[in-house]
Amino acid sequence: MRNHEALQGQDPGRLNLWGLSVVGLALLAGLLGVPVAGWAEDAASASAAVSYRDIPQLGGSRNIIWVVAQLHLLLAGFVLGVPIFAWLCEIVGWKTGEKRYDKLAKEFTKLLTSSYATTALFGGILLFLLISFYPKLMTYLTDIFFPSFIAYCGLFLLETATLYLYWYGWDVMQEGRAKVFHLFLGFLLNFFAFFIMVIPNSWATFQASPVVIAEGSNVARAWAATWNPTWWPVNIHRLIANVVLGGYICGAYAGVRYLSAKSAEEREHYDWMGYVGNFIGVFGLLPLPFAGYWLMREIYQYNQQMGITLMGGFLSWLFILQAMLIGVLFLGSNYYFWLGITHRIPGAEAKYKKPIMAMLVILLLCLGVWMTPHSLVASLEEARKLGGTHHPLLGVFGVMSAKMTVANLMILVTFMSFIMYWRAGKEETATWAKLARAVMSGVLGVAAIVVIVLGVWGYFVPAIVRINYFSVAQVLIVIFVMLTITPLTALLLRSARTTTEMIWGRMPPRAGYALVLNAVMVILLMTLMGYARSSSRVHWHIYGVMRDNSEYAYSPALGYAAAFMSLNTFLFCMLVAFIFWVATMGDKAKAGHGAMPAMAGGSPELDRSKAH
């Protein structure tokens, strides 16, 4: 059985790599072959120092790079995010002895192996295109980053080897010391993956905030350029965002599998996997705004001009879109938690209706504040009545102090959603339970009030005090809440009596769709931030050092960019769906046909009867 399974996993993996390489090569050949006219022209004027090449027939170099780079980045985010929690799941399974965690970790890793090749493939395409389209820029970057290019290649070899061992050795290294070694492999996998992420980050952040030194050895120059001001903020932000992306995509995968599940076990398993995916996504989502805030702060401090372009200038509308997407994500994640309470825990609905309503209202109020722009979209007539595009009362919601405050509150609410879910269906029996509950609500209440007070007070102090002390204090308070309530709850629940057993596999179809929606939102968010990062450089390849002299040196308007974000999101979803489909073809063949077609709540009848 085990061998069979390993084989099953192997074949699609190979097929996938081959299939995609062939498709990729064909595509490349297409790219090179079709627009003969464009090339002939270039060849005539080609001199030793070509700065740009282009294929206008295919939409222009910038748009091609836009799509390929974004797809590569999304794939890379997934491939680097998944091993983190696959490994954590494996550890949990090993420590607790619960086999289902090990199985889950293995399933995650299977998705990982199948996407890994495609990620590398897109990286390769991206590299070829960059060298072809931007020879001058690439020569410059190669000159500076030569040592880290080499290091990167080495890391890639190590990572690939580790991944092979980790995946193919899964079943062989199950017991005793072999398992420990396998866990060590998982650690190595993440270790290398981390550096595979931070090295290219240094190239990209260098373009935004370059540090160029004229003297010194190759290594010294590369080192200085690597340690540019936005490198670490981006590293941290991306690391967390990758976990979020990975979590939500795994959640979406589970959601789709759940919707098409044919047997009760499958429903149970994918319901649970969806829950874990959503949990990981939310878990990463909570610290993400803090990391983003830090990044923005560094950018602003590095260069006022770039900071204003992003936060107050022509890119500032993008942050309203961002608020909208994050808002949907928060709502979607909480919705999923709440659906879990009302469906997996029989009889919980009546009890939790009120708290859920309260949380929902707070979330919506916060979102309303977050989405209120500083200067409003108003018709001329409205602007006249308003006396400008700045509302005297609601205008105050348009600035960082307000946004930070509501972001913190939303994080608190989402955290409490999870705690509520965790405690649902259990009765705390400890003698000190009452006291503990009082302490927890006290901590929560005081924290919320302090966060709001600091937010309001932030308007009356110099910007630097707000940024360095108030905002930081808000973040610390929220972290403090999490760090006190989580262990307290864990302690409480240790002695708790389960009154109602959690039942998996009873979620309605809309839960599966919610998971898919969340994944789409995260992908859209990442494409949006990709646009933000690139556009903030405005007409520079390397900010303040090398100008963009191509015909594409203008910033595309937000509407145009939004079309590309949607396109990239769509392509990525198709790609991932295809990869997963190929990777799990084996399972389906194994499961066989003729099982009862009990699609998750496919009939409203079933859904209704489950609700009670």
Binding site: Q304, F314, L364, G368, V377, G388, P392, V399, F460, I464
Partner: protein, 238 residues
Amino acid sequence: MKGGIHLKPALLMVGLYIFFKFGMPLFTAPLPASLIMLYLMLTFSGIMIFMTLSGTSMESFLGPIFRFISGDGQDGTMKMARLAVLALFPLLVGWQTYTSTASSTAPPAENRTVHPAPPGEFAAMSNPVPNTPENVMQGKGLYAAYCSPCHGLFDGKGPASRGFNPPPANFKDPTTIAMLQESYLFWRIKKGGVGLSVEGMPWKSAMPRWEFELKDEQIWKIIMGEYDGAGQKPRTWE
């Protein structure tokens, strides 16, 4: 078919609309339609989320609506009502589409960039004039002479302010100069509305360009006087 379950959400939506549209203008400036729309959308999604939390609540909320639209087993008034809804809804959508796309004499809605990025040569400047009481006083004097007709007592309500759209900035508002570095103000004062960067389109600001009337040193003094008078501090990094 209309149980009480639909009444509260409907009342909430209508009530909020009335409040935003007619209530708010009673005590503050009216809200633009885009914002009202946004808030109502949020409310609507909240209602949908809450009502679909469990199978029972979803059934009792959406069930009657679906059954009404599907027309199962209806007769008499119900049937007519359904036909009316089915006929009116497309008309409503059509009307909405027409009004939002038909050309009109009104200019399109604006999303003016209030704080466009300053040109590079201004971004890195710092105030060379020491912050002494005399300098601040001098700055305030210059301010009174040159700026107060429009910007008033730092609140944007000078005697000449009413004629301008966008109105002169209110420096007491914590979302204007308190968010900016001194160098930013230097650029805006020196170059004025005509000197706004490309991303500050449409350039229709009445803010004059002061580079010909005032010396750089005077501008820096005005900036100090302005912050002092408005009770704000510039953005700094230390």
